[in-house]
């Protein structure tokens, strides 16, 4: 048995009001619940939950003893004896018991998919069954629905599903990019692709996003050989600009993580497509071939994105002053476009910029 484990927001916030091993996490959940309420009310969108959800482990991995116990019970490790609370049925409720905490969980279909931890409470001295008795009496008097996952839980689940889907989509793109690169490296001068990339959706609808192609050409460099890699992205007519932006970021990062190594050009007669060029060495191609052969990314290869600020870049002074104030992009002496940040002092300076800057100073 390996069901998706979920905990209702009501239970996390109202019932599990103490004993968190990370008290900050509880406060975080309390504020998250407020943001979720805004989404339920239509005052905010799923995007408002993105950053918080990425900062949290799954709802089933939060730092509370009852949640940990629930997770261990249902995570599919070992065989657990389950005890029903007060012979309730439709739905049934499983007893959750750890230390002084008691809880109620159910995998009944009335609650939706997976198994839910819906209520919790502390055992008070002298009685082992306080929580279960109160729970049973509430269910019998008012019905079980008050404990069921609510609209807020559905919103949270939807947002989490989207994030998982987006992450899976990005991993898939990294894989596709490396497979195309490996094939292009085996056929220098030939453009491999386009491969049709679709937008990630919760529904099974497949919206064409862009065609992706890769071409590699060998460049003699002294005794060694370098490789000019060209990635071509051709957005479909209905493509959402944001997804195209994300596609380009993910695909280029999968090949070469330093954005300053890439040069973009506008491609195609309509000026909607772009081509992205980077000089690669043998190690980049070897890595792509390994990934292609394994058919998957290494663990530590997962979730690669462009690494900002690998080197510091110089721009002409007057442009830089304007940009730092407004947060606008500037062109560095080496031709790389970037938005200046204040933390450049600790970094090595890009060699090309350094040379150009020295020359300017004389």
């Amino acid at each position: 048995m390996n069901m998706r484990r979920r905990v209702t927001l009501r239970c996390l916030v109202d019932d599990l009001d103490t004993d968190w091993s990370d008290e900050g996490q509880h406060r975080f959940i309390v504020s998250l619940r407020q943001k979720v309420a805004d989404v339920v009310a239509g005052d905010a969108k799923d995007s408002s939950l993105g950053r918080d959800l990425r900062a949290l482990p799954g709802m089933n991995l939060l730092a509370h003893p009852l949640v940990t116990h629930f997770e261990n019970q249902f995570a599919g490790v070992g065989d657990h004896q389950r005890e029903n609370i007060g012979n309730l049925s439709d739905p049934h409720w499983w007893k959750q018991k750890t230390g002084r905490w008691r809880g109620a969980a159910s995998d009944h279909s009335r609650l939706g998919d997976g198994v839910w931890l819906c209520a919790g409470g502390r055992r008070t001295a002298g009685s082992n069954d306080d929580f279960y008795a109160v729970f049973k009496s509430n269910v019998l008097s008012y019905g079980p629905e008050g404990y069921f996952p609510a609209a807020e839980d559905a919103v949270l689940l939807r947002a989490e599903n989207k994030i998982h889907l987006l992450d899976a989509w990005k991993l898939q793109l990294q894989l596709v990019a490396n497979v195309l690169l490996a094939d292009a490296a085996s056929h220098p001068g030939t453009t491999i692709g386009p491969v049709e990339i679709t937008t990630p959706n919760l529904s099974s609808r497949e919206d064409a996003l862009a065609g992706l192609s890769v071409c590699v050409e060998e460049m003699p460099a002294g005794d060694d050989v370098m490789y000019a890699c060209l990635v071509i992205v051709e957005p479909s007519m209905s493509a959402n600009r944001l997804f195209v932006t994300q596609l380009i970021e993910t695909v280029t990062a999968a090949i070469q993580v330093d954005p300053a190594e890439w040069r973009m050009a506008l491609h195609g007669p309509e000026g909607r497509a772009t081509s992205h060029e980077a000089a690669l060495d043998r190690s980049h191609l070897d890595r792509a071939r390994q990934i292609r052969q394994a058919g998957q990314l290494e663990e530590d290869e997962e979730a690669r994105s462009l690494t900002l600020g690998v080197n510091a870049h110089y721009s002409r002074r007057e442009r830089l002053t304007d940009a730092s104030v407004a947060g606008s992009p500037v062109e560095a002496i080496c031709g790389y476009w970037f938005v200046p940040t204040a933390d450049h002092e600790t970094r090595d300076v890009c060699a090309e910029c350094h040379e150009g800057h020295e020359a300017l100073a004389t």
């Binding site: 969108k45 799923d46 995007s47 408002s48 939950l49 993105g50 950053r51 947002a159 989207k162 889907l165 987006l166 937008t199 990630p200 959706n201 919760l202 529904s203 071409c215 050409e217 000019a228 060209l230 071509i232 959402n240 944001l242 997804f243 932006t245 994300q246 380009i248 970021e249 954005p259 040069r263 973009m264 050009a265 506008l266 491609h267 195609g268 007669p269 000026g271 497509a273 772009t274 081509s275 060029e277 994105s305 462009l306 900002l308 002409r316 947060g327 606008s328 992009p329 062109e331 002496i333 031709g335 476009w337 970037f338 938005v339 040379e355 150009g356 800057h357 020359a359 300017l360 004389t362």
Partner: protein, 133 residues
Amino acid sequence: MTTQTLPAASVPATEIEHLETFQKTLPTASTLRHALSKITDDLKSGSDLVVASGEETLTPSQAAKILGISRGHLYKVLDSGALAFDIVGERDRRINHADLVDYQTRLQRARAEQARDLAHRDSIEDELLDHMD
């Protein structure tokens, strides 16, 4: 061939100084002063210059240099139809200077936008969630 390439290394520092002294005699709002200051900046930072009038044409190598991309990349751009060119002689390509300036302007805008997107990628990633139903 009317376009002229001026390698930065071929210009002595004393000549650049002369040019700089002269440009400072022009009014600060002068467009000529701005153009000359770009020339001195570029020469000082070691960038080769391509000098052309609006009517003139550039070779692929010159165009690639201006756009900051490799020649191979430029040929792909030309083949894609993104930038117009003429064929001279057997098969040599020439790019009209005005076309290149127009392309470069759009390209610099796109590069600036890409840099801005990258700086704000966290919010872009959040925003994607609103387009995944």
